[in-house]
Symmetry: D2
Subunit: 341 residues, 4 copies
């Protein structure tokens, strides 16, 4: 089969002919149709410090996808050939204290497809049946293929109390854009989105932001929306230090800051004035809650309360991987997907 | 001033000329413009067993209203003459364990206007300043005048987890109808509303119910919407025993039943199969949370996420009180309001 | 092997020679050492209406036990021969919405050992590895053998907010007695336990109840402890209608009633005065949360914060099953266990 | 009356003869008997940058106290002459969104006695009646006089889930020491306390810490107690950067860090590895929840579940203020109190 492979230490991906995966008894084989490209893939492509420390080439890249089940292991009872599916890409042990208390998203033994084992930028992928998630008929392969980052957005938004709340979303990359639509559907009273990029601010408005502003204008927008008090909830989606400081500055006392964006390195913070005296709660968002978040996604999509499609701005075949990575790096793209089959 | 008075034990109200209320130092005097008529008022009108046990005539009736502040006591600092306001009608002690822990809505020493002291079916009412709630400019006196029952609906709906949930609302009186709109705005994925009255089912659809059905069809609608599992949340708004049994039957295992409707008398329940084996949570709804619910109302109205207006079907002058009561008793009305000034 | 068997429709158990269970690849075989006898076993013994409707003889009875793993299926990786273990007796599908959101305790496809498939009143039992729970070295087989009902008590107590709370526990059977010790260890400020049986009230005091009283005295004890307000939390452990009414009467407004005791049949309840006007929350307790409750048990036992031993009052060999059942029916027993190996 | 006064910008306090406070109609006059000395008082004594920015001399210092009511304003109905009382020292507006939703502890218009208006290091203090809290007969003036910092500890501990949890407490000053006793009473399974000072570690053991260790040994103690997973909850009570990093390092994934200690200045933090990838929750603790925390204190003290007395190590008359401040600065003291009358 064709697959995008990280062949060796060093930059780039290579489109290779690889053998099809062989499934275990508790796995299924999936024909991949659409796959999302993520910032993590860019790190692996660039072979940055994080990638060097974590990944062991060679392996097939990619962790967001949807497709059709074409073969099922003999122990699998709840997934069948022909099923239209996506999957949770975090493969967890299922036995640790975290997995056993509804916190599998932070299982210490998580292995991620496309990072720690072969991924989905390929014609086929083997997945444990327990990670497979069925798609409703009204959900396209394309939307199925971006359930992973959509799930991050659902996890970030819906672990805060959204109905009737004022929400600041700092960073309008794909996950921030999804979060805007989710918060709007979940009854946020006012959504202020900030980004440095005008194209993304346009998408933010399309997704339902009441205000879509440059970071320098965020304070004014929050002041006007909240009488100077600050917003109830901040979703920090950028990982950029000035945005993080702004999150703490613009959340109201007693409010909540959900942190998903990953700062590249340590940064200065004044816990006294930014966190403690404000009496706020901070929540670090990892992956998707397994499987509360997935059920929420299915519910929102089934009810057509939320449409992620406008966020998808670029589509490429696997052969154009370099171009796909370039699109993401430009900062102009929403979500970028591979069309595989 | 003109006021609707419960003059003595026995049925009916009487439109009287009364002296204007004299305010205390911590009170304000409000010129009433609109006032909502409630089922409680019907009980008092009919002088039923509950009314006989609770009320001590003579007193001015009515507990839902909006108007303008025309005079403020000398200790009042945060309400001014000319302010457009509504008010929480439960006057609490502010000192008990409940009041001191955010549970003033169940303060054991609550006194209700129009029940335990003079109410708002009058040209003027005296209210403690702490009970006064300011109206935004975009909120009409009419909508201001029904904040009390709207608040019941907000309290019932938003103490459950609504975004992405399937919701059954049993009973489409005014509070049930408000709750439909609130759940829709708060991101419920599917709202099934049931009532015996076709006019009310029509209003239910107007307010956003996905399904508006006769009680006999509720089970089928829930089955179709949830694959037989049952709904995540039931809002029981009828107080009718068959609806209460249906609430327990149609909520999913581990789900939540919010009980607001008041059964007229004791009823049989099989706790084993209806509650315990299902692992459900039941929450008894009293009044409005003071003042979390009020802030939610202001947020939803300010953002125009929710419009209660379609629920208001009848408007009368105070002089037509008998007709107003008759409209409610007909079962055909949505919300009935008095236009006073 | 020797096993207590429900051979056919009709009363009684029979001690039989049965073949040892054959395990599947994902199961383990456990040599049973101690097993707890439960009210459910009495229902099966008596062959009452519930048993007739649910059970399909012949099958081995019993669902509470501890022992040693003697054989493991070839797919099992986290349980080994020689491990000292107990097990969750509810075998769930692991795939449904409930199982996938941390609510496996209400999985609609639950099958219970000793009820729906062969149980543990036997020398050996086959268990799915995912249901097996390891015992710390400091936990005896006897205490291991009663994790199931202890877990019910942990689930009931610790899904309420116990530290600093006043707690009424209605019913001092084994689960009520465990709950007393758990609430005491978890920082309840005052525990009032009620039962009709003096022997059980003595055990209640041993387990840490501040007050252990006859039901007729419970109201006075609650009044004295709470200044007439009512308790923060009631754990209803009896299933007896007068105790259930007392639970609603003696919980404070805004308080919480945890219902575990199973009423034998429908009963009258006045939702208006007993539930709604009081603004209370009711929670129906099913089994043990999988596996939050089990981790709590391990923590409490590991730290020696809680010792269930005094509750165990009777020990029998399997051959004396009739006597064991008789002891439970007497109402004088705490926990009754079989000593098997 | 005698009072400790911050007379002017610059270091030190001065014992002065001042006029007795005159109360407003909604205030009471309290004869102070015992008063606690706090780190905040040291800042004011030293006249450091924080004090310069916040305080406006002259004013009477001190915010923790207990005493007897000697006079009540004419609007006060629920406090009487002769009542034994302490008080919440944060005087809030009672009308803002925060005050109205149970979050008065972060009211933006808070004024603190002894900081923003005259305090309690004096023979008399005037307090708004709504801030007054009655003491049970079994609570001494001395324990009454330290309800403020005890309340900080209750707030920090009991907004986490303590029963059955493993808890790391970094910093054994008075609030950390109180927290140890509170967590022990509330059913923590293992409490590891760390401090650099041996005298304080001794007090930590007295208060119930299972392990009381130097910071360098904390990692080992946590590893042994949790099998390397990390603790469920950290209470950060030191404000020292290495302890804050240790808090993030030693909390388990998905765990909770309660931050009360105030770092003196900004510090570096790696949000990626310390917060986000761990999926933790951080809560900034301000003051005491009004009045949930106070009710918890009363419950714990009434039930004698918790005795703060061993933490009190030094007692002085007002005249020895310099010595009291010196004792705190030594790092050897537990709680320091003034004996006033």
């Amino acid at each position: 089969m064709k697959a995008l492979v990280k062949e060796a230490a060093g930059p780039g991906f290579k489109l290779c002919d690889c053998p099809e995966p062989v499934i275990r008894d508790d796995e299924v084989l999936i024909r991949v149709r659409r796959a999302g490209v993520c910032g993590t893939d860019v790190h692996i492509y660039d072979w940055d410090d994080w990638a060097k420390g974590r990944c062991r080439p060679p392996f097939v890249v990619g962790h967001e996808f949807a497709g059709d089940v074409v073969q099922v292991g003999k122990l699998v009872t709840d997934v069948g050939e022909g099923d239209r599916v996506t999957a949770e890409g975090h493969i967890v042990d299922g036995r640790c204290l975290l997995c056993r208390t509804g916190n599998a998203h932070v299982c210490p033994r998580t292995r991620i497809i496309g990072v720690d084992r072969d991924g989905c930028f390929a014609e086929y992928i083997a997945m444990p049946a327990t990670n497979v998630w069925h798609l409703d008929d009204n959900v396209s392969y394309e939307v199925g293929g971006i359930h992973d980052p959509m799930g991050n957005a659902f996890h970030t938004a819906l672990t805060a109390d959204i109905p009737g709340s004022t929400v600041l979303i700092t960073g309008c990359g794909p996950i921030g854009l999804f979060a805007i639509g989710i918060c709007r559907a979940a009854g946020a009273s006012r959504i202020i989105a900030s980004d440095v990029n005008d194209r993304r601010l346009e998408l933010a408005r399309t997704m339902g932001a009441h205000d879509a502003v440059h970071p320098a204008e965020a304070e004014g927008a929050v002041r006007r929306a909240t009488g100077g008090l600050g917003v109830d909830v901040v979703l920090e989606m950028s990982g950029v230090p000035p945005a993080i400081h702004q999150a703490f500055a613009l959340v109201r006392v007693g409010g909540r800051v959900q942190m998903l964006g990953i700062p590249a390195k340590p940064m200065d913070i004044d816990f006294a004035t930014e966190v403690i005296f404000k009496g706020i709660t901070i929540y670090g968002v990892v992956g998707r809650r397994m499987y509360d978040t997935w059920i929420q996604m299915t519910q929102f999509l089934r009810a057509r309360q939320f449409d992620p499609s406008p966020v998808i701005t670029h589509r490429f075949p696997l052969a154009d991987a370099d171009e796909a990575i370039r699109a993401i790096k430009s900062g102009e793209a929403g979500k970028v997907v591979f069309e595989i089959a």
